[in-house]
Symmetry: C2
């Protein structure tokens, strides 16, 4: 594989996740968290209040980086790109959250499943658009996920 393009890839955090407690269950999507950007980047948030939802891209720095491309999943083996495994070649997290409030360089968001202190890489408004807004409501998901969800909503 050619990788000449990648010589100069350098990722820098634009800020960090700040949670009320280090002991929260970060997977509880009803919780609020703060994204505290570098103060110099505060103007980069101007106008973000007009969006109700944003994507947060973050660097899952507590995950080990493994080369193993397959997960041993309860429903059979699965490629790491076919599931939302936090263990994959570049541990970039992507979560769509509700934007509750902005104050200068700080965003309050709901539903961010990232630990306290996690480096934030990027923020993008939701949804994307082309000639129209791109909101995908017709889609197909695997049978194993349908089973998990049926069990969860029954329980």
């Amino acid at each position: 594989m050619e990788d000449g393009n990648l010589k100069n890839i350098e990722i820098k955090a634009i800020g960090f996740v700040s949670r009320a407690s280090q002991h929260e269950t970060v997977r509880d999507r009803s919780l609020m968290a703060k994204i505290v950007l570098d103060e110099a980047l505060a103007p980069a948030l101007d106008g973000i209040e007009d969006w109700s939802h944003i994507y947060v891209l973050f660097w899952m720095d507590r995950m080990e980086r493994r080369e193993e491309p397959v997960l041993h999943h309860p429903h059979g083996n699965l490629g790491v790109f076919a599931a939302r495994s936090p263990i994959h070649p570049n541990p970039i997290g992507l979560t769509l959250v509700e934007l509750v409030k902005r104050e200068a360089n700080v965003l309050w968001v709901k539903g961010l499943d990232a630990y306290d202190g996690t480096p934030v890489l990027d923020i993008k408004p939701y949804p994307d658009w082309d000639r129209d807004l791109i909101v995908v409501t017709e889609f197909r998901v695997p049978e194993w996920l349908q089973r998990i969800i049926r069990q969860d909503t029954r329980g």
Copy 2:
């Protein structure tokens, strides 16, 4: 800002975008493109065929990286995180595409607005889930975007 966590951030491409022609209008979302993964990662795609849509994260290596946090937008100044500017501190692209076909280490996708040769960083299935699938259909977008879309759909 503390940045101790970021000492070892290294991003490597998992593959590259391959387009039928280098002269295509990449913003035309009706076009197909291929994502050619490193062959060693082919097993990481096992099971991805069960999803109809995936997120593609890519590295926009043709964009200049600027420190300027504000865009001079036709509808007024806007922070780079309040728009989908390709120019922002970490030029990571994020596009939700339709997965049309997988063949070994190659994915055929529709709607990927990335140039030929663009490094791909990660692939994630759509939608995310918690207890249920997370599909956001109730949201608010800025007035300037509503105007753009009204003009486009009228034109």
